[in-house]
Symmetry: C2
Subunit: 119 residues, 2 copies
């Protein structure tokens, strides 16, 4: 029995039949955390700007910083976050590290978001 409710409203909708279905169809807790974490990465203006910069071209850290008028340190911290989420990659070129978009997934997700806020 699904009697592990922490509260008990007495409303009589047809929703209760869905409770078990919800619990069955809900992705694993781990996936839900990963998913929220991924969107968190998109949920910061600085990181969004960095991604827009990389839409134009792969670029080294200092030029990204220059483009956005922000400090190298702030950008570097955020690049690390983007990299951890596998949204960007990097490679060395002489003294510089060049960052680039990992795949077109990023464009799609940001594009969908833009669609939503502009409609």
């Amino acid at each position: 029995m699904s009697e592990d409710k922490i509260q008990d409203c007495k409303c009589e909708h047809n929703h209760l039949e869905f409770v078990d279905k919800v619990r069955h169809d809900m992705p694993a807790e781990e996936h839900l955390y990963d998913l929220a974490d991924l969107f968190k990465v998109f949920g910061d203006t600085t990181r969004i700007k960095i991604l827009y910069v990389l839409f134009e071209s792969e670029m080294c850290v200092c030029d990204i910083a220059d483009s956005l008028g922000m400090t190298q340190s702030a950008i570097s911290h955020q690049l690390k976050v983007l990299k951890q989420s596998k949204l960007i990659g990097n490679k060395r070129d002489g003294k510089s590290i060049i960052y680039y978009l990992a795949d077109d997934h990023v464009r799609t997700i940001i594009g969908m978001g833009m669609d939503h806020i502009l409609e």
Copy 2:
């Protein structure tokens, strides 16, 4: 001249030619904020769970809370956030308020996110 750099690395890549292009193609600051705010909404496990619940069926607040084993208050606060972002809508039915997905945009965005973390 774009000499409003706050720092000056001397790296000599071909990136500087992109700086002006970046500034031209970058969406308005306001849109970037709205976009980040939208993704922030997706960036919380509780809200993701609520959306997954609503994937199954429109539902009243107390049944959403029951489904997720969380308090009515916590759910209500998050429903407000989701509503403000126009991801969900609501309607009254007797004593209850029924919440539902605003459109299939939500499914698409979450779907894209899932694709990314599962690949």
